[in-house]
Amino acid sequence: MATLVKLRMPLLQVAAVLALLGLWQWGTASGVLDTFVVGTPGETLGQLKNWIVDGTLLQSSLSTMQVLLLGWGIGTLLGVIIGAAIGLNEFLRLVTDPFITFFNGMPRLILYPFLAVWLGFGLQAKVLLVVLVIVVVVITIVASGFRDVDPELINNSKLMGARRLDIARNVYAPALATWLIGSARVTLGYAFQASITAEFIGSSKGLGYLVVFGESRFNMNEIWAALAAVIAIAWALDGLIRLWERRATRWSGAGAR
């Protein structure tokens, strides 16, 4: 009984997905939906199967994930470090604020060709693009979050003799976790956009490449099949984030009521 209750939500979600797929199949079969525009679930599945069998899917997913995770990790880490520095040091914040906002305002997604020529059309340029795209977002969120921490908690820790590092570990880090989780979800999306965009251009592997390839041949099924892999990865990563969220917010008793 208890497990049934636990399983209710995932079951519902799976049901919703199936319903959507069914609707899609029915729509294309009955001609309500233009197969050329939306593809068909059947053929998308067929395409997926082919790619799984010949290894394309695994290879492409791995290649995209490599860019994604490296870029996301480095970007988040850098963002937290810089954001923390800015959040803690008013002078630094004032000095850097316009530059960061300015950089944040630049449409960085279209920078890839420049990076590629500079660093070569390999992993580095792609990872750098992802980093550039998300780092500013993380900086902004972390810096404003740092300024939002209850000053009483900080004062209390200081009084008790906490040094900067202690405060960072015991006050800022746990508070930070909440915003990081929020921003991780946003940046995950950005990171995906960036890695796929990088693969659009000047690449011969990765899910982004599969997508452009499908696009250039007007084959919606190929696009969906590639996106299905994106979806699977995104879903798994979101699951990890939720796990982390549950761990990180255990103290708040959010689930108790």
Partner: protein, 248 residues
């Protein structure tokens, strides 16, 4: 404050100087343009009426798409708030749509929404939606439950709770996510113009690329950044108003 400006100027000078120096080399100039040339190009632009129409077009698209995206996010949050189960149900789907590379879906957007103003607005709105949604969502998770309980007991209706607790408590989050997302909305506008259009700053960047003029591309990106910097300053002002109650 004077010191702040001095350091800022020093950084700016170093950056621009380094750029100018770097681009004496042809390879870098082909890539990044030259500051001197970018400046003279921008000077030519600002006296050109079409530049302002382009800016206006981009702004109009951004503002409309932005408003639409923010509204959609807020509506969804308003639904999720009283029904947390809905939130749990939607969570993975939202995460998935968030990570879908919207650029890859440009053809779908073209087909569904055409090539007009409208299509760009939807494109921007979709991009915006997630930033705001996730930003406010994490803000909600941070609210002191006693405050909400107190108000509920006092007889606050759902709407009143939203107005008196949720909105002010998440205003900080909302604004910081709005600040992040203004830039993102502009990027979305520029990219959608870049994909297809004959007006707007994105169009200008595309033209610069077509003409193989790195100065034009860089200048275009800078102008976009300037627009977003301005928007950001406006939001900061609003933020200050909202935070009056805080410790000084």
């Amino acid at each position: 404050m004077a010191a702040v400006w001095l350091v800022r100027l020093a950084i700016l000078a170093a950056a621009v100087g380094g750029w100018q120096l770097l681009t004496t080399d042809l390879r870098w100039r082909l890539l990044f343009g030259r500051p001197t040339e970018v400046v003279s190009l921008v000077r030519a632009w600002v006296v050109d009426a079409t530049f302002w129409t382009d800016t206006g077009v981009t702004l109009a698209e951004t503002a409309t798409g932005y408003a639409l995206g923010v509204a959609a996010a807020i509506v969804l949050i308003a639904v999720i708030l009283p029904f947390p189960a809905v939130g749990r149900f939607l969570s993975p789907f939202i995460a998935i749509v968030n990570s879908l590379p919207k650029i890859a879906l440009a053809p779908v957007f073209i087909v569904w929404f055409g090539i007009s103003f409208q299509s760009k607005i939807y494109f921007i709105a979709v991009a915006m939606f997630f930033v705001v949604f996730y930003g406010v969502y994490s803000g909600l998770n941070n609210i002191d439950q006693t405050m909400v309980d107190n108000l509920s007991v006092m007889g606050a209706s759902g709407l009143e709770r939203v107005r008196d607790v949720y909105v002010p408590a998440t205003a900080g989050w909302l604004i910081s996510s709005l600040r992040v997302s203004v830039a993102w909305a502009l990027t979305a506008a520029v990219i959608s113009e870049y994909i297809a259009s004959n007006q707007g700053l994105g169009h200008r960047i595309a033209l610069g690329q077509q003409a193989l003029d790195p100065n034009a591309v860089v200048a275009g990106m800078f102008m976009v950044a300037v627009v977003s910097l301005t928007a950001d300053r406006l939001l900061t002002l609003i933020d200050k108003r909202f935070r009056q109650w805080r410790l000084s």
